[in-house]
């Protein structure tokens, strides 16, 4: 019966097993304890970037959990996007791997002027409209936190967290996260909560095992 299956499905199954065994996959899941939301809970659970006392975070808070270690750099990385729509950044918190190029498409009928004075990446796109060709983009080649502003709309804020790892995820607003497809070995697991707070744990990953790590 199995042999009767289509070759495509077979290929898929093969790929799955091959990948699983050949890369000795491991999973970390857990929970990051997040600070109390800045304001009353926003119903639609979208989050925006705020600063308080010089600390940049999202509100409601979310964490970026990533595995630190030395991983081989791929030949090419997919382009990421930081679109602007309805006078807001669509993804106020974007985590990318170092070397990623981010496009800044403008879906509004008005100008935007995205700039950053952050040390990880200083740039100023100048004013651009939705029909700007090519779409303005920037290469983020240094790890760190990049704080984005719009010179025209002072309330528009976003963060790009540039990480030296391909293994990262953004938690939900409750703090739950799940990182899959990790190689076995000893690593440091980090949870970025805000610009001044990054929690870390040493982890040892075994093939096929699921590790549960909670950040208190």
């Amino acid at each position: 019966m199995i042999a009767m299956r289509s070759p495509a499905l077979l290929l898929c199954l093969w790929l799955f097993f091959f990948a699983g065994f050949a890369r000795a996959q491991a999973v970390i899941e857990g929970h990051v304890k997040l600070p109390k939301p800045h304001a009353a809970q926003v119903v639609n659970m979208r989050y925006e970037v705020v600063t308080n006392g010089g600390v940049i975070a999202t509100d409601p808070p979310v964490a970026v959990v990533y595995l630190e270690g030395h991983f081989p750099l791929p030949a090419s990385l997919p382009r990421a996007q930081m679109p602007q729509k309805d006078l807001a950044f669509v993804t106020p918190l974007l985590a990318i791997q170092t070397g990623t190029t981010v496009e800044f498409p403008n879906y509004d009928d008005t100008y935007h002027n995205i700039f950053s004075y952050s040390k990880a990446k200083r740039f100023d796109l100048g004013r651009f409209r939705s029909d700007e060709k090519p779409v303005p983009s920037q290469l983020f080649d240094r790890p760190g936190l990049v704080s984005l502003h719009c010179d025209i709309h002072d309330f528009m804020r976003a963060i790009i967290l540039v990480l030296d790892t391909p293994h990262f995820t953004v938690s939900d607003t409750a703090g739950s996260y799940r990182l899959a497809g990790l190689p076995a070995g000893r690593y440091t697991l980090k949870a970025w909560v805000d610009s001044k707070t990054t929690l870390e744990r040493s982890v040892e990953l075994n093939n096929g095992a699921t590790l549960r790590v909670d950040f208190p």
């Binding site: 705020v50 600063t51 010089g54 700039f115 950053s116 004075y117 040390k119 704080s147 010179d151 309330f155």
Partner: protein, 749 residues
């Protein structure tokens, strides 16, 4: 005697000296007090003026500072809104921070190119620095040009974090040995969304100058950290002055406002005021120095002037008090002398007085005798004069009496000549009424003998008189004169009446009628060729005016002047000269005025003004002749003349009274004793006991019985002659007059 006088003189001299001393003392005290007050006022005024000067200049300085600070605060709010500034602050990116701030604040910064026209009101910042939220200076990358003084960063930091309020401070920078003061204003940059302090911007300015350089007396500067910066002051004195100010501002119990210091030996008034109270920067004081040299010189001059004036006043006072004391002591000295002399003179005078007293007694007796003789002679003269006047008056009375009789005779003749008119009751009654009126007037003429020498008195009864009716009546009454007689002489006299309805006047109706009659007669006599006689009556304010105008011959100026005099007549044998004077008397008696206008050939107008009867309504009720006003009374009538007695009985009976009659005084008394009476009416002159004697007897028995005395000589008597009589009435008496008299008598008793 001489020694006594000397003694007195010495006493007087002492008095003078004491007086002088006291006055000088008082004068000196007053002058000193006034001068002292003036001096003190002047000093206080100088200090107050300087204080005001300082305050007003400082007020201007602080005001312009305030304006500047407000403007800067506003700019910093704008700065906080700038996304790039905020981003740079967040990232601690000084390069972008200063770059963007230079753009944002380009119009506030002195880039060395623009030349601000008014440095005080819109000054440009010499430099600016950002502080982070902790108050530490964020250093400017690639420090500014070396030509401009740059502050040491440590001076600008605000340890302990940036406060939310604007802070003012002063910093001193030294370049090439010279000290430059700068005013720095630290303004917090507050996030518009979260309200947190992101940092601060510090702007450095040239300190605002306190005004008043034009006035040479003023020096101003700023004290900072124990050093005084006063550009126009030599360094040596500045150091000393710095010490003084340092001592003053750090004095326990808080700094004062001013102190007096010596600069180069010249006293100066120094004011100081903190420029940045409540600031975290070190305190700085505005210092103003006013040289007191000018004001001291002025005060010196003033003092000399005051002293001069004081001396002058004292001198004048001395002279004045000398003069006054002399004036005051002179009478005293004279009094002392006089009293001695007086004594001698008095003794002499007393002897003389004794001698003259006897002489005087004799002289007095002689004088008394002479006076008595003189009085007797005067009495005789008066008597003669009175007799003469009476005789003349009698002739006048005869004239008027004749006038009164004329209508009676005239109408009688009319009736007798045409007996058929007797059948016409209306006409006859009219004639009879006229005759009655004329007869009444004749009666009152007799009673008017005294009217020339007697004016209006209280016991005369004035009744409300309707002038319109009176004039109409009189015109009818005098018809024989102006119509019949005139027609007989072949002339026509037209009568014109212009009578308004006037308010009544208080008066004697028959007297007024007589006056009017006289005037009408005169008018007719004045028109021998006929003419128009106009009679008018009208109200004028509080008065009623009667006008009798003829178109006759008129009067010459001389006649007009004399026409009111008694016995003056232009009619020769026909006139008595009493007519107009009687009119005048009547008008005066009524409190009125008689005026006349006349022009020879054109006619004469007499104008009689009579006062309105104010209490007309009251009098009408009191003296109503509409009917018997009294309740029925028991009345005793005493008269020796049977006709009069019967008339009285009849008229009193008509009014409902019960009447008993007696023939004479004694009879009356007997009746009175036998019966009971409410009222007695008696004649005066009766055989045996007269009416007034009987009245006295009755009053002794029954004091409350009212008594009316009737007399044919009523007008010659005064009621005061008969103390027991309540009412004195003249005969013949009319029924209304009798009623009136009864009412008055009842009221009086």
């Amino acid at each position: 005697m001489t020694s006594q006088r000397l003694l007195k003189k010495a006493g007087v001299g002492g008095f003078r000296v004491k007086l002088l001393a006291a006055m000088m003392l008082v004068l000196f005290a007053i002058t000193a007090a006034v001068l002292w007050l003036a001096q003190r006022n002047a000093e206080a005024a100088v200090e107050r003026n300087l204080q005001n000067e300082f305050q007003s200049r400082l007020g201007f300085l602080l005001g312009s500072q305030e304006t500047r600070r407000a403007a800067i605060a506003e700019r910093c709010r704008m700065l906080a809104k700038s996304v790039r500034i905020r981003a740079a602050l967040e990232e601690n990116d000084v390069e972008d921070l200063y770059l963007n701030a230079k753009v944002e604040l380009r119009d506030l910064l002195d880039d060395g190119r623009q030349q601000a026209t008014d440095d005080t009101l819109s000054p440009r910042a010499k430099f600016f620095r950002f502080l982070n939220a902790n108050g530490a200076v964020m250093p400017q990358p690639g420090s500014g040009s070396p030509s401009r003084p740059e502050p040491r960063e440590s001076q600008l930091a605000i340890p302990g974090g940036v406060p939310r309020q604007q802070q003012i401070g002063y910093i001193a920078t030294e370049t090439r040995g010279s000290v430059t003061l700068q005013e720095v204003i630290a303004t917090p940059i507050i996030a518009t969304d979260t309200g947190e302090v992101l940092g601060a911007i510090v702007l450095g300015f040239k300190p605002a100058e306190i005004g008043g350089r034009a006035i040479g007396e003023l020096e101003s500067g700023i004290w900072l950290g124990g050093r005084l910066q006063m550009p126009a002051m030599p360094a040596a004195s500045m150091a000393a002055l710095s010490g003084e100010v340092t001592k003053a501002v750090s004095a326990p119990g808080g700094p004062g406002e001013s102190l007096v210091v010596k600069v180069n030996g010249v006293p100066n008034l120094l004011f100081y005021k903190m420029l940045n109270p409540g600031s975290r920067f070190p305190p700085a004081y505005q210092v103003c120095l006013f040289s007191l040299a000018g004001s001291i010189a002025r005060q010196q001059r003033l003092r000399w002037r005051i002293i001069g004036w004081g001396a002058l006043i004292l001198l004048a006072g001395l002279a004045a008090s000398e003069f006054i004391s002399r004036r005051l002591s002179a009478p005293v000295a004279k009094l002392a002398e006089d009293s001695a002399e007086n004594l001698v003179q008095r003794e002499r005078a007393e002897v003389a007085l004794d001698l003259s007293r006897d002489e005087l007694l004799v002289l007095n007796a002689e004088l008394q005798a002479a006076l008595a003789t003189l009085k007797a002679t005067q009495q005789q003269v008066i008597q003669q004069e009175r007799l003469r006047a009476l005789g003349q008056m009698a002739s006048g009375i005869a004239h008027d009496f004749n006038n009164a009789l004329m209508p009676i005779l005239g109408f009688c003749e009319l009736l007798l000549l045409g007996p058929e008119t007797l059948g016409d009751t209306q006409k006859t009654t009219h004639y009879l009424e006229i005759m009655q009126t004329a007869a009444k007037d004749a009666a009152s003429i007799v009673g008017r003998l005294r009217e020339f020498y007697r004016s209006h008195t209280d016991d005369e009864v004035l009744l409300p008189v309707n002038l319109k009716r009176l004039v109409e009546q009189t015109v009818t009454l005098t018809r024989p004169k102006w119509k019949d007689q005139a027609q007989a002489n072949g002339v026509t006299v037209r009568i014109k009446l212009a009578l308004d309805a006037t308010p009544p006047v208080a008066g004697d109706e028959s007297a007024l009628r007589e006056a009017l009659t006289n005037l009408i007669f005169n008018a007719v006599d004045a028109m021998p060729a006929g003419g128009t006689l106009t009679l008018g009556a009208r109200s004028e304010g509080e008065s009623v005016v009667l006008e009798i105008a003829d178109t006759g011959t008129g009067m010459s100026e001389d006649v007009r002047k004399r026409c009111l005099e008694p016995f003056f007549s232009t009619k020769g044998e026909r006139g008595t000269g009493l007519g107009l004077s009687m009119v005048f008397g009547i008008v005066k008696r009524h409190g009125g005025m008689l005026d006349l206008r006349s022009e020879p050939g054109k006619g004469t107008t007499f104008i009689i003004t009579l006062p309105q009867d104010q209490s007309a309504s009251e009098r009408v009720t009191a003296a109503s002749d509409g009917g018997p006003a009294q309740r029925p009374l028991r009345i005793l009538v005493v008269d020796d003349e049977p006709q009069v007695r019967d008339l009285l009985i009849a008229s009193l009976g008509t009014d409902g009274h019960t009447v008993e009659a007696a023939n004479h005084g004694v009879d009356g008394l007997q009746h009175f004793l036998a019966g009971k009476f409410d009222l007695v009416v008696t004649d005066k002159a009766m055989p045996g006991m007269s009416g007034d004697q009987m009245a006295t007897a009755i009053k002794q028995m029954a004091p409350r019985t009212p008594i009316i005395l009737l007399t044919g000589f009523g007008q010659f008597h005064d009621k005061k002659e008969f103390p027991d009589i309540d009412v004195l009435a003249s005969k013949p008496i009319t029924i209304p007059a009798l009623r009136n008299a009864i009412a008055t008598a009842l009221e009086a008793a």
